[in-house]
């Protein structure tokens, strides 16, 4: 239907910023799958928990609107760090309580457990903050930058930048540090890694810590980006992020990022050209097609990069 260059460009910007949030969640999915081959369905809910944690910190600090000056850095740092630390600990706790015992059980057992964890987290959040969307303060000044007929909001740029920066940090952590090396070794062969003196339990816990902390960061960003959240948010977002991880090549960090951005773009363009109701259909159809013709995803499970 109706189309001009400006609208198309605007949709690409919408798609990229939505995709940035998917990408941040997808990183955690892909890390956990890479190391213990578990699809951690509770991950999407850890992301929502991140929004609620940062919201709690903001209310504690008495923040209800945009903050300016040096206080901005303090407030944002406090909110995002609190979300990352608390979500990271939640992730470690979930792994310790629910998944560790089932590490050698048939694949279906931890998977069902993950869905159970997802329900538990959702209902805890339902109990904590109620069933309605909860408003989230704007916090970050959000000037609109006009580029001709297209407007970019500052928060859209922040989402995309944060996703890329965190992805690069994660990538370099996995490739260049001792702990990263331990993670890669565990991913390749748990038993051999243990024989080489790697503490498997600590390494897996660390993976959950980092993956969930990234979900926490995504949670804070999404709160600022949408201005609201609700307990059930993680369900749909988690499914999309999981799809993103598979699309890019599950276990592959750069792939998760690519998948996230792609899904955001597919959604925005489907909405523009076909209709909003078809965006889920298209996203999941593409997932099926990719799995049939390129089962290891677009970038594949490239082993060196595999966490």
């Amino acid at each position: 239907m109706h189309l001009d260059g400006a609208t198309l460009l605007q949709q690409l910007i919408n798609g990229l910023s939505q995709g940035g949030i998917y990408a941040l969640i997808a990183l955690g999915y892909t890390m956990v799958y890479g190391i213990i081959e578990l699809i951690n369905f509770a991950h999407g809910d850890v992301y929502t928990l991140g929004t609620f944690f940062s919201l709690a910190v903001l209310s504690l600090l008495g923040v209800t609107g945009v903050v300016s000056g040096p206080m901005l850095i303090v407030v944002v740092a406090a909110a995002i760090l609190a979300a990352m630390i608390l979500c990271g600990l939640t992730g470690v706790l979930i792994e310790r309580l629910a998944y560790r015992r089932l590490r050698n059980a048939p694949k279906l057992a931890p998977l069902i457990t993950a869905i159970g964890m997802s329900f538990i987290l959702e209902n805890l959040m339902l109990y904590w903050r109620g069933p309605s969307p909860v408003p989230f303060p704007q916090v970050i000044p959000n000037p609109e930058i006009a580029l001709g007929a297209v407007t970019v909001q500052a928060k859209q740029i922040i989402v995309v930048l944060l996703a890329v920066v965190l992805m690069l940090l994660l990538q370099s952590f996995v490739l260049n540090t001792r702990l990263g090396k331990a993670m890669r070794a565990t991913a390749q062969d748990k038993d051999a890694a243990q024989l080489m003196g790697i503490d498997i339990n600590t390494t897996i816990a660390l993976t959950f810590l980092i993956g969930s902390a990234l979900a926490g960061a995504a949670g804070f960003v999404s709160g600022v980006y949408y201005g609201s959240t609700w307990f059930f948010n993680g369900f749909a977002a988690g499914l999309k992020a999981f799809t993103a991880a598979v699309l890019g090549g599950i276990g592959n960090i750069a792939g998760a990022m690519l998948g996230g951005f792609l899904i955001g773009l597919i959604e925005a363009l489907t909405t523009q050209f076909i209709g909003d109701q078809w965006s889920n259909v298209l996203v999941f159809s593409i997932l099926v097609i990719v799995l049939i013709f390129r089962p290891s995803g677009i970038l594949g499970e490239s082993l060196p990069a595999k966490v």
Binding site: Q11, P133, Q277, P295, S296
Partner: protein
């Protein structure tokens, strides 16, 4: 090797997701039974105080609404309206004190949102109890769709205060719902239909001077039904519909859709749907794409306090209809409004008066059946016959009767506008039948 292990996991994931979907439904039984336990005592104190011989046989009236979650803002005041009618009847010595009325209050919410399967389960619970002779509810049209075949089969009189979807009472759709007894109708409503609500909104939109409107709906029975009436009606009245899109359940991001809407430069955006299916977020995000000055219009689905909360400052410049009169302004409802405030300590909801009326009609039908049977406990069929014959019934919302389809013979609509964060009555319409 690597791939095969992944695909197996993915298959298992799909299976597990399907299992998870099933478990949603079964969880409703617990939700509803706890609510029933929690709410029915509210009716009993009045019953006990009504007459010395409260030991008489109990006749039950079922009440089914969304009582928790986002829909509770509209569901609770509706349930309260019916409860008040039952309590008043007991206090006035129902059927000479020989019988005591009691309410069975059930909740059709799952995961914070109204749910057709939960509603159907609640109706099955009501039907299984032989003491239940009639029911009030539900609030949502898609829940009604799941319930009507059951009440039709059991011959249990059901009156909804708020369902507006056309297909519940008229046309082939309604016939399909009456599966067990296609020729008898057990479902009635005291509010008007979407074909009338949608038409009234289209007329109203034109009256506001809007020429081009973009239509969005939530793809549910009620929302899509309303939008599908508004869309052609608005065009017939000389307006242009720039596009018609459907949003999906649990959607959080409407920026892409709204960017598309903005590019068509509409005078207003029309939304057919509820707040729990995205109405509030949709309105709120209009600010993000630079549409904060564009008005927003919808049906009774967005006429709730929940909408004002979710949409925040963007709630202003929103117009919506209520398929009921503004009872707070009707002289005939002043006694009800006062009694409601005294009993529940809050103001009435948009459908409280309708719900009160629905229960009163059923109570009158039961009383008449008792009288006709010479004081014996009436059957559901007797009660249904009397409900269907309702005509010239004086109620807070006017003189009510039912036509052959089960629709009200006195459809009244209120049009509201949100100003400074508060809804203000803008216009009231009595529609011709």
């Amino acid at each position: 090797m690597r791939f095969s292990s992944f695909s197996r996991t993915a298959g298992a994931a799909a299976l597990a997701a399907a299992l998870a979907a099933c478990s949603n439904t079964s969880s409703t039984t617990t939700t509803s039974s706890t609510t029933a336990g929690g709410s029915s005592p509210a009716a009993s104190p009045a019953a006990a105080g009504s007459s010395g011989a409260a030991s008489g046989t109990t006749i039950k009236i079922g009440i089914d609404f969304p009582l928790s979650g986002q829909d509770a803002a509209v569901g609770r005041p509706s349930a309260n309206g019916a409860l008040l009618a039952i309590e008043q009847a007991n206090a006035a010595g129902f059927a000479g004190g020989k019988y005591t009325l009691s309410a069975v209050v059930l909740d059709d919410t799952v995961q914070g949102k109204h749910d057709p399967a939960a509603g159907a389960q609640n109706v099955k619970t009501l039907i299984a109890d032989p003491a239940v002779l009639a029911m009030v509810g539900p609030y949502n049209s898609n829940v009604a769709k799941a319930e009507i075949p059951l009440t039709n089969d059991a011959g249990l009189a059901q009156i909804s205060p708020a369902n507006t979807n056309d297909g519940l009472t008229i046309g082939d759709d309604a016939k399909k719902l009456r599966t067990a007894h296609p020729d008898t109708n057990a479902y009635f409503r005291v509010c008007t239909r979407d074909s009338r609500q949608g038409l009234a909104l289209a007329q109203f939109a034109r009256k506001l001077g809007w020429k081009k409107v973009y239509v969005i709906d939530d793809n549910e029975t009620y929302g899509k039904g309303l939008a599908d009436v508004f869309d052609p009606s608005f065009q017939k009245l000389g307006g242009t519909v720039l596009g018609h899109d459907h949003i999906t359940a649990n959607q959080q991001d409407f920026k892409a859709l709204l960017t598309k809407v903005k590019s068509t430069q509409p005078d207003a955006v029309f939304y057919g749907g509820d707040v729990s299916t995205g109405g509030g977020l949709l309105r709120e995000q209009m600010a993000d794409v630079g549409m904060s000055k564009t008005p927003f219009m919808g049906g009774d689905g967005i006429g709730t306090s929940e909408f004002l909360k979710v949409a925040g400052p963007m709630a202003n410049q929103t117009y919506y209809s209520i398929a009921a009169p503004d009872a707070a302004k009707l002289p005939s409802a002043s006694a009800f409004v006062a009694a409601y405030r005294k009993r529940f300590g809050s103001d009435i909801g948009a459908y409280s008066a309708n719900s009160y009326t629905a229960a009163k009609i059923e109570i009158a039908a039961i009383a008449k059946a008792i009288q006709d049977d010479g004081g014996k406990l009436p059957s559901r069929a007797d009660v249904l016959k009397n409900v269907a014959a309702t005509n010239g019934f004086a109620s807070p919302i006017g003189t009510i009767g039912f036509d052959a389809d089960g629709d009200t013979t006195a459809p009244i609509l209120t049009l509201k506008r949100v100003q400074n964060g508060q809804p203000v009555t803008y216009d009231q319409l009595v529609l011709k039948t």
